[in-house]
């Protein structure tokens, strides 16, 4: 363990960012975790006060602060609504990196990050092995949503209703793609992201179908690495750098106009976090280039290809969930709704109570499943309240969470990605 003075001096670097918080407490209105617990340590203002306390040595136990700091979905809703404009995500990610550097990660987690996540080939092989074996341990939960649950008592799975790993991942269905630009005159690089690749290959296929329909060339290199958000949000900055570098090298091998992803989290990470946190400053130009060109798939379809909503006589209602990373970080809310209506078959139904986090938050779901569950159940109820027979969103991680929640609460509503519904009409 490093010297506590060193920790304090590193935290002092956050001082300018931390003093921006005027402790007005308005974040309480936004925070999905606080809404459940009503505790100051669970809301942004409290967490910022804890970091200040640690850096001023009023608090002496970094472990305790770190534990509280982890109880955050990083949904960014507080930041998007902060009167003082405090850069909450920035502070939390930096603080997590500092604290992880000081405290270290649990060995298993570190092993997964360092050995597995940074080695896409190994990870793909392991997960496809997992996919072929998972039937032994699971049984069907809801056939409409396509969820499973544990066959035996399994602590890691708990009472989750999860989407199984796809029997054939996207990268084994379509190992790579390199097609010329057609009539559109455009070529996109395609970054499906881990969850699309391993759990929802049909989302990736929908994107490919749509690109083909609009005659957009696709460059999809094999062995893509994770976007890095799990590593970054756990404070593993070296692993994050490694992953970004792998992707930079990979996508440099082709010529393309936009980098598109069907994952709100991947898009936000590449756009916002790659340029901000990638450690190798020599590569700044390459990172910026990618960050400037990355687009959510709906954003690309609506803003670049000008795919417009089509009038329909009696469109089917689809309950649309705004992923936090699109809504708060990238301010993208209109385009997915536009693409949903573009096939002339569906129309977005708004959730009562307005947009809110689904409670997934990546590893938050693993570390704080109970809280994640309470937040997610509310989301499931608000989806059911629309009366829609289908739910849709623009983030595969949200799809996992919402499927779990709808399935467990007995609402047999299938969960689709917006592009799946659009591709279906082509």
């Amino acid at each position: 363990m490093a010297d506590i003075k060193k920790l304090v001096s590193m935290l002092k670097e956050l001082d300018d960012l931390l003093t921006g918080c005027m402790r007005c407490g308005m974040c309480q209105a936004q925070c999905p975790v606080f809404a459940q617990t009503g505790r100051e340590t669970d809301v942004t203002r409290g967490k910022l006060a804890l970091l200040s306390g640690l850096s001023e040595e009023i608090l002496k136990d970094p472990e305790e602060v770190n534990e509280k700091l982890q109880r955050c979905l990083l949904c960014g809703t507080c930041e998007a609504n902060c009167p003082s404009g405090v850069k909450v995500t920035d502070i939390f990610l930096r603080a997590r990196a500092i604290l992880t550097g000081y405290l270290g990660l649990p060995p298993t987690q570190r092993l997964i990050f360092r050995r597995l996540l940074t080695n896409p080939k190994l990870m793909n092989n392991l997960l496809s092995l997992g996919s072929s074996l998972q039937g032994l341990f699971t049984k069907d939960a809801d056939s409409v949503i396509g969820t499973s649950c544990a066959r035996f008592n399994a602590p890691l799975i708990a009472d989750r209703h999860f989407k199984k790993l796809a029997s054939k991942s996207l990268h084994s269905q379509t190992p790579h793609k390199d097609t010329p630009s057609g009539k559109s005159g455009l070529r996109v690089a395609f970054f499906p992201g881990c969850v699309t690749d391993k759990v929802f290959p049909q989302v990736g296929q929908a994107v490919l179908k749509i690109m083909e329909h609009h005659q957009v060339g696709v460059f999809m290199p094999p062995n893509q690495a994770c976007c890095g958000i799990p590593a970054l949000s756990s404070g593993e900055t070296e692993v994050f750098d490694n992953l970004v570098r792998q992707n930079l090298d990979l996508f440099a091998k082709g010529k393309w106009d936009y980098l598109i992803t069907p994952c709100a989290t991947c898009t936000a990470t590449i756009h916002e976090l790659w340029p901000k946190y990638y450690g190798d400053k020599m590569d700044a130009v390459r990172v910026k280039d990618l960050a400037d060109k990355v687009m959510d798939v709906s954003q690309f379809l609506a803003d670049v290809l000008k795919v417009a909503p089509k009038e329909a006589a009696s469109p089917a209602k689809v309950a649309y969930h705004d992923p936090c990373h699109l809504r708060n970080t990238l301010k993208i809310t209109a385009q997915p709704r536009q693409i949903l209506a573009a096939g002339g078959k569906y129309a977005a139904a708004e959730l009562p109570g307005g947009p809110s986090c689904c409670g997934s938050g990546g590893s938050f779901n693993i570390k704080h499943y109970k809280l994640s569950d309470v937040i997610g159940r509310k989301k499931a109820e608000s989806i059911a309240a629309t009366g829609a027979k289908i739910a849709a969103t623009s983030c595969p991680a949200c799809m996992l969470q919402i499927s779990d929640m709808l399935s467990k609460s007995g609402h047999s509503i299938p969960v689709k990605h917006v592009v799946e519904l659009y591709a279906e009409t082509l």
């Binding site: 003093t19 005027m22 402790r23 407490g25 006060a49 804890l50 608090l59 136990d61 305790e64 404009g85």
Partner: protein, 463 residues
């Protein structure tokens, strides 16, 4: 440190999960929204029902533990900063709206109910709960009553105290005291509910509130008037009231605030204007038309450069967005934002504005002023960096000067933020020693162990 036996007692009352004693947890309750020093409690408890709330109060009294009740902690005068080593009692789990009565126009709520959520539930039933403090998205009704919170609609609709029909509260012995009622008229006994309003947690612990509701106005119209001179704007305010028009809202922004907001939002605000008035009239449609026309001409008679009347909801929203942006925009200029609420009779607003200008120059500080011109409640907002000690001393001196000035003009120390810790030292300047002694005698009988939010309003009591 709190003894284990006491901790166990608290756990027995509110459950293990609702008792916090870890250093990080205590640290998170050592502050509120006021720019004041932090002090840590020894224990934080979160009762989930009235019964355990009463038991918490009783246990504190029996053991001489200082008790600070806390809702959202948005207090701007330090009223929810705990006594060092004391107990913080959270009301965040006591957040139910128990009844909204549409026949008799009242509601019954628990103290931890969030103001805006409650107001939305009331609105869904076609009624209005008018008090709308700036922090309403998170503030709790218990806190609103304890501080007698104001808001943008205070000019016409009054402040929280005008809507409190009854308060049920625990005395220090944990006995439930009922006061007020559900009738429009009620003169039974002392006006204990009135006593509880603005008592800042020093006289009792709220268990339940009965609040008055009103029918909402049928129509409204918003407008934005731009003035070349602060004095002209102030004269327009006085003239509107003198012409027997009471707008629902009559807000003021100074040049610095206008420029800062424009810089923040780029909404096309008049950056050269010395001042802006944001006005809304409401009521019967015909009267609204009439009032709006009169207000417009009064502004013009008082040298308004322009008066923009909102044509629809979108334009109305643009007017109010400018006002809503005032604090966020100012807050971004410097790290520390000191928001004051010195209030003067509205005829004295021009004098107060001149005084603020003088104070800013004298102490070499940046002060943006906006606020509720219609009721004389200004928010001079000092933009500073608390880490700059030299400047911070000047800020403290400037705050003293602001209050001195407000009192000299026949005003008051606080329009809506309360006295708390921040302003208790000025109290005698406003009311004299007699009022303080009377209040202290009253408190010493009602709270002989001085456990209820000690130090707030009245300053430290002699034993």
């Amino acid at each position: 440190m709190i003894r284990d036996a006491l901790k166990n007692e608290f756990q027995r009352i509110v459950g293990k999960d609702n008792v916090m004693t870890e250093p990080a947890e205590l640290h998170a309750y050592s502050y509120d929204s006021a720019v004041l020093d932090q002090t840590q409690p020894a224990i934080v408890v979160r009762p989930e029902n009235s019964e355990s709330l009463g038991q918490v109060v009783k246990l504190c009294n029996e053991n001489g533990l200082k008790l600070t009740v806390r809702g959202a902690g948005t207090n701007l005068s330090g009223g929810t900063i705990p006594h060092p080593g004391g107990v913080v009692c959270l009301t965040t789990a006591l957040d139910k709206v128990l009844e909204i009565n549409e026949e008799d126009l009242y509601a019954v709520v628990q103290p931890g109910a969030v103001t805006a959520k409650f107001a939305a539930q009331v609105a869904a039933k076609g009624l209005l709960y008018p008090p709308d403090p700036g922090s309403q998205a998170v503030s709790t009704l218990g806190g609103n009553v304890a501080e007698n919170a104001g808001g943008l609609r205070a000019l016409k609709y009054g402040v929280t105290k005008d809507y409190v029909m009854g308060v049920d509260f625990f005395d220090v012995n944990g006995e439930l005291i009922r006061s007020g009622g559900k009738t429009v008229k009620c003169v039974t006994g002392y006006n204990l509910a009135g006593l509880m309003v603005a008592s800042e947690g020093t006289l009792g612990v709220f268990e339940k509130l009965i609040l008055k509701l009103v029918p909402p106005p049928a129509a409204y119209k918003a407008m934005m008037a731009v003035f070349p001179d602060v004095m002209d704007a102030s004269r327009a305010v006085a003239a509107i009231i003198a012409n027997k028009i009471v707008p629902a809202t009559l807000e003021f922004m100074d040049n610095f605030t206008i420029r800062t907001v424009e810089n923040f939002r780029k909404a096309g605000l008049p950056v050269d204007a010395a001042a802006m008035l944001l006005i809304e009239v409401d009521g019967h449609p015909a009267q609204v038309e009439d009032d709006a026309a009169k207000v417009e001409s009064i502004c013009k008679e008082n040298k308004a450069i322009s008066v923009r009347v909102a044509k629809d909801d979108a334009e109305r929203n643009a007017v109010w967005q400018a006002r809503r942006d005032a604090l966020p925009a100012l807050a971004r200029v410097k790290p520390t934002t000191v928001l004051e609420d010195a209030t003067v009779p509205r005829s004295k607003i021009p004098a107060m504005m001149q005084a603020l200008d003088r104070i800013a120059k004298k102490y070499d500080l940046t002060i943006g002023t906006f606020g509720h011109a219609g009721d004389g409640n200004l928010h001079p907002t000092i933009l500073t960096d608390k880490r700059d000690q030299k400047e911070w001393h000047r800020v403290e001196a400037a705050i003293d000067a602001i209050f001195e000035e407000a009192l000299a003009l026949g005003g008051t120390l606080s329009g809506e933020h309360g006295i708390g810790l921040a302003k208790s030292k000025y109290l005698k300047n406003e009311y004299g020693v007699g009022a303080i002694n009377y209040s202290r005698r009253m408190k010493s009988v009602l709270d002989p162990n001085n456990i209820l939010n000690p130090g707030k309003i009245l300053g430290p009591l002699l034993a």
